[in-house]
Symmetry: C2
Subunit: 351 residues, 2 copies
Amino acid sequence: MRQLRVNQGSGYGLAMGQQMTNLALTHAPSGPKALLFDQSVGWFALELANRLNIKHTLGLAAGEGCKTLEVFGQCLSWLAQAALPRNTTLYVVGGGTLTDLGGFVAASYLRGIGLISFPTSTLAMVDASVGGKTGLNLPEGKNLVGAFYPAQAVYIDLTTLDTLPQPLFKEGLVEAFKHGLISGDTRLLQLDDLAPTWSGLEDYLWNAVHVKVKIVEADPFEQGVRKHLNLGHTLGHALEGVTGHRISHGHAVAYGLVYAALLGQAVGGMDLLPVVQKLLNWLKPQPLPPIAFDQLLPFLSRDKKKVGQSLSWVVPLAPGRLEVRPVEDKVLLEVYGRFADHLSQHGLWLR
Amino acid sequence: MRQLRVNQGSGYGLAMGQQMTNLALTHAPSGPKALLFDQSVGWFALELANRLNIKHTLGLAAGEGCKTLEVFGQCLSWLAQAALPRNTTLYVVGGGTLTDLGGFVAASYLRGIGLISFPTSTLAMVDASVGGKTGLNLPEGKNLVGAFYPAQAVYIDLTTLDTLPQPLFKEGLVEAFKHGLISGDTRLLQLDDLAPTWSGLEDYLWNAVHVKVKIVEADPFEQGVRKHLNLGHTLGHALEGVTGHRISHGHAVAYGLVYAALLGQAVGGMDLLPVVQKLLNWLKPQPLPPIAFDQLLPFLSRDKKKVGQSLSWVVPLAPGRLEVRPVEDKVLLEVYGRFADHLSQHGLWLR
């Protein structure tokens, strides 16, 4: 088992290993408890509920469909109907969509109750679990509503990966790969062995979490360096939006990283395309339908990283060296052409 | 004009007087602006929008009906549809329901944008405007959802009282009277002259705001002394709930103060009933329908001040001396009988 303390807000513990329910029991806060869980890891959630003697539980089908104001309202009413008071702790067990939802529920119910998180997907483990970003989607775009609300403790139990579908296992690690590009930790750019059974998996995940922790500690409210975590997400979110989420988040971000690599080269950075192509080879993402750049514009302008009139892009110049900057429309369009060409050559751009 | 700085969070200015739009213009932050306003003070909001050149405006019918997740979603979509970025400032002009809603919108949109508040009712001026409590109602109860999110600036423009209906003018001052009981500032317990035209009104309101500021500064997250502000609200909220909000908030709190006064006497405090009766004489609240104590129980148990298994009451022992404590059911019931008797004698308990 590994543990560290995240120095964000009043600080919180993060632990990774097996049998985290034992640790969670040892460190359980006093007061009432409720458990919100992703039905796909119901087996794990029920074990936790038993160990901690949590009676008030709610299982949801995870996915972007649960990050709505409607489901948010259902969760709040579920807490209110049991008249749970302010000293309640909400345990959240699930992937990134559920921890995003559950975090905002905990942030908002009675203006904030306790939150303890059990991320159960690779995405949630290496990304969503740390840093306190919670959020919901609006019809107008993803993650447009939410709060910065760190959990009091994060338990990463690797046994939950046993039932994570292989596509989700891979998609989540796109964020770990992204952390490698951001930090320059090149171990995170080596994907060949990455599988649930690989003996090096725990090390790999721990290194990825570590990158996120360092960035969040340096910039808790995304005023500066934390924006780097959006690498690949500006185009990624727009691809998700324009396809009505028929492209998964992990695949969309992988494509976003390809675009970012080309953008970096266009503004004088090193050629990162071969590095990112290794990600595509390993991931084998769903091919993109042909999308004109103009179709992306409404989704780009709504991106949260837009400040004032110009949209900022996270541009990688080399592993560990990034710039957050506006990019001229002409360059964006030109690079988009190269992006489409590159994907076409690899059979990832449908005609 | 009067100004003070509230030492809560990173601190914010509060100003009271006439022609606050001038001051707001001088101190306007850079970046995009949007304006959410209560239609009943549309005349004032439009003047503000003109002065500050705010193009993106939304007028709502204020009242508890706007403190729903549905209207919350409409406001968020209104911001998202204009693709307003993180450095946006939301100006909110209205009474307490609108500033509660608008504050939570600002807290949640893109995980938090700027907020500048123009409270336009006496309630919002002396109570809701300071302290950063924002919130919505659920079907299960009032203010069960929200965030602590102080405005960056609060401008109390007394000209907005010109169009405040007389019943609302009076109801809001129930909170000012409550501040007198809490602080022991007996000037706030003198109501006879209180009218929109009274020359002492600005002094009175400023003194009331001052009580709130001091309490919020001492206890920003309601861990201790801020709970005193809930004086009269435990029973008040339950009366609102059981009558389906046919009793207004101000009247409900006034009745709650009567009950609290009797409770204080029952546990050994001084007899505050004559003091609170002066409030009833001045307010002339809507009489209560006969309500059995049992009917209130489901609404009491959902009160946010409940921690663990026992409900805490704010009990006044004398002006400026309060206790937050559980009270035995037997005492609660007994005092409720005296409460009903007292109101009957004054024609405020319907048969």
